[in-house]
């Protein structure tokens, strides 16, 4: 596993809920990332986050890690859950809350 993949893996494993996003939770830099943060805040969930705009290596590496080409990316207990569309869909049908608070 390459250095950046190991770094990503550690971030994912060290948090129950972790969001790779563009910007930060209080200053999202992209509509999809903002929607992801809004959903997590609405659920009152504590989550770790990483601003992929601050690190090009992670920004590319995360796409390989999850075999998923877009940002944001949500991880729950080390497992990739999905991007902004999936989060919204799961939030609307209640799956996201049960998955996180499982």
């Amino acid at each position: 596993m390459s250095d950046v993949q190991a770094r990503i893996d550690k971030m994912v494993k060290d948090h129950d809920v972790f969001l790779f996003m563009k910007g930060t939770p209080d200053m999202p830099q992209c509509g999809f990332s903002m929607r992801a943060v809004t959903i997590l805040n609405h659920l009152g969930v504590d989550f770790g986050s990483f601003n992929v705009l601050s690190d090009m290596e992670v920004r590319q590496g995360i796409k390989e890690y999850a075999n998923w080409p877009t940002i944001p990316q949500l991880y729950v207990r080390g497992e990739f859950l999905g991007g902004s569309d999936i989060m919204l869909e799961m939030f609307q049908n209640g799956e996201l809350e049960s998955e996180i608070k499982g």
Binding site: N67, W68, P69, T70, F80, L81, G82, D85, I86
Partner: protein, 82 residues
Amino acid sequence: MFSAARIHELLIEGLPDCRAIVRDDANDGEHFSAEVTSSAFVGLRSVQQHRLVYRALGDHMRRDIHALALKTYPPDRWPHAD
């Protein structure tokens, strides 16, 4: 610049029994939305269905398409009459 028609073509080619509606919402050739169904989606969770769509779009997803808001359905829940 990329087009909704081009995305539609890639989806039809890349997914079995595919039906898709692709819109260029901002009319800027970069931000698209799509509704997609395919027989390959049967029994798959949404994230797996989306992965198949991204695979059908291949490198275009990294290079040409800035944003793609995606909604996928198994064939029996496709909400559009043809």
